[in-house]
Symmetry: C2
Subunit: 357 residues, 2 copies
DNA sequence: TCGATCTCTGAGAACGATTACACAGCCAGT
DNA sequence: ACTGGCTGTGTAATCGTTCTCAGAGATCGA
């Protein structure tokens, strides 16, 4: 590799001058400037970002740890973060925790060791032992989607209470008595909050889901299938399932299909987290949509603000209910029943990206 | 931040000794060893990977540039690459080219500047101008999924000719006369190869798609919808559409639904690239499945081999046809027609991850 | 003509690690 | 007691940048 010294020799100047030219300092003459640039060009010189970072105490890099890269929810967030970061001249290094606290801890350490300028974490669990490590290292931290015990870091999250309240009301209005819930892990904030909000909403309506109708999954496909299987094997099985995450929703759907159960005739289904293909199912799936792009953007901005020495406030975006008929919602059911086959959806499917803008 | 010097002072030794302890050299006494470790522990010292990399000329990092992070196909690949890399003690830095050659070039440069030990690229286009830059820098390069003009780098790709031949045969056998193709961009190897292979297969069967029935998209959702719209607006519209990528397939599906067209009654659909939700549609979508996890793993291994100084051969995996009935395939259609509603799929949906193992 | 001021450039010290080399003890063999 | 071979440790160079500081000319006013 050619270094700055090579360029300096070739141009007949010192490395200091080369550095000044490279960083756009005022000092160098137009003449030396062109000489240096010519040398850089001839040698195909590219500065070593490692050395630069070591000297500058800044890597222009953000670290992002997502709970599960295969979850399109996080993939979209990752993409949004990256867009925002690039717009500010930052690069993003990803880590995939795979919903595992240990793997997450490993990545936190790896990224701290590489001296990222800031860390964005979608925590795998409530356990916040790792936060102390980050705080000690002095690297700015922003939490995304989920919170963590004993952390004072800014949080960017989604409030689904209102949407869940609407969903509960809609289910009750449709006449559902036995509501099955495939909840997220009890040791994640989103897992608990969604379940709590939904339970509270039902309670307001005078209903209370039976304990055996509430199962916890792990935000992944297989657990959704397992939970659906368990729920549908009960003597008094639910008339509708609410999956608190798109992957568990996918698993539940697979399980229902595998059992030959028809949605919503045999059992209704609602899912937390919209995905582009949900409107394409028959019936289209009723979902609670989260503003993923906005989340990623907001998180990146908060982190950049933190890096700039500001004190960004917590961000709380709101999810919203998108009723599509998979719970046998009034009006949609009857309309649907009149068409013999797989019919066209009534409205053009709304894309997630459109919703976010 | 505490540095090695701090540790050395605290333990009453030199930085050399600290380094030796850290890197497991034989030299230090058990006594000094424990003293150093104690100091490290008390100070919460973490080595600076930047300084280490600068000195060692190795970052233990692989760069991965994907064409589009939002495409689940690439998300799965990214995940597989990361798993394999981690197993060998490497970290992965991602870049998202967004199907843009310029953005890809920017990322190539950024990653080279950060001195990644190796580069894995899913090229956005055929243009291989950037390859020279990588070669000059001496950083090992492996191409993934798509090839590039004038490159001698090892390639990991998927051969879909046999699967496409089977698909063509199946479509012809089902009686499809007018076959519409939503092809990938002509300036990508996969875009061309899939179209060529499919056309050749049809030619073998004595058919030849009409020129106006072949449209090129850009491997993204909107282009699939636009192409489907154009094709279905023709006076002699196709009886079946073949989308050469899962996102274009998604777009096409949305468009068909929006127009109130029923698959496969009004028009058949087949898609290149399986996704977990394809089996859940009614009818389940016939696809050509690619071994994504195997691709990512193979690519990472090839790159690591290259870094180790070996000369890995090109890898060519094979895609396979999964017939599900969305093209009105014989046997499936009749069975389907007998059930009035959204029916259960006939076999348990096969998950992508199972297929890859 | 002589400072004073201003502009440009270079020498060299960081940044935080690794490691070649030297050296100080120690023990064994003569 | 002296040599020679170990063993364990420290000194200092090095990686490729940035940046402080100081010096070399040039310009200018008195």
């Amino acid at each position: 590799m050619t270094t700055m010294k090579d360029v300096a020799n070739r141009a007949g100047v010192s490395t200091a001058t080369v550095s000044r030219v490279l960083n756009g300092h005022a000092a160098p003459t137009e003449q030396t400037r062109t000489r240096v640039l010519a040398a850089i060009d001839e040698l195909g010189y590219r500065p070593n970002a490692l050395a630069r970072s070591l000297r500058m105490h800044s890597t222009k890099t953000l670290g992002l740890i997502v709970s599960d890269l295969l979850n399109p929810f996080f993939a979209e967030i990752a993409r949004a973060v990256e867009d925002e970061a690039r717009a500010h001249g930052y690069c993003v290094v990803f880590g995939n925790a795979d919903e595992s606290a240990e793997q997450q801890a490993t990545y936190v350490r790896t990224l701290l060791d590489r001296r990222v300028d800031g860390l964005l974490v979608c925590p795998a669990t409530d356990d916040g032992g790792w936060v102390a490590e980050v705080t000690e290292s002095g690297v700015p931290l922003v939490l995304l989607d989920r919170t963590v015990d004993g952390s004072t870091a800014p949080v960017v999250r989604v409030d689904g209470t209102e949407a869940l309240r609407e969903l509960a009301a809609s289910l009750v209005a449709t006449g559902h008595e036995r509501i099955g819930v495939i909840a997220g892990p009890a040791n994640t904030s989103t897992g608990r909050e969604r379940l709590d909000a939904f339970s509270a909403a039902l309670a307001e309506l005078g209903r209370r889901p039976r304990p055996e109708h509430v199962l916890h999954g792990d935000f992944r496909r297989a657990s959704g299938a397992a939970a659906a299987a368990a729920l549908m094997s009960l003597p008094e099985r639910p008339s509708v399932l609410v999956a608190m995450d798109n992957l568990m929703g996918l698993g539940a759907l697979e399980e229902l299909r595998g059992r030959g159960l028809v949605v919503p005739r045999d059992v209704g289904l609602a899912v937390y987290d919209d995905q582009p293909w949900f409107p394409l199912l028959d019936p289209p799936i009723t979902v609670i949509a989260q503003p993923t792009v906005a989340m990623g953007g907001a998180a990146a901005r908060s982190l950049l603000a933190l890096i700039a020495g500001e004190q960004p406030a917590d961000v709380r975006l709101t999810a919203r209910l998108v009723s599509r008929g998979s719970c046998g919602e009034a009006g949609l059911v009857s309309e649907r029943a009149s068409s013999p086959f797989n019919t066209a959806v009534r409205t053009r499917p709304t894309s997630v990206s459109e919703e976010d803008s």
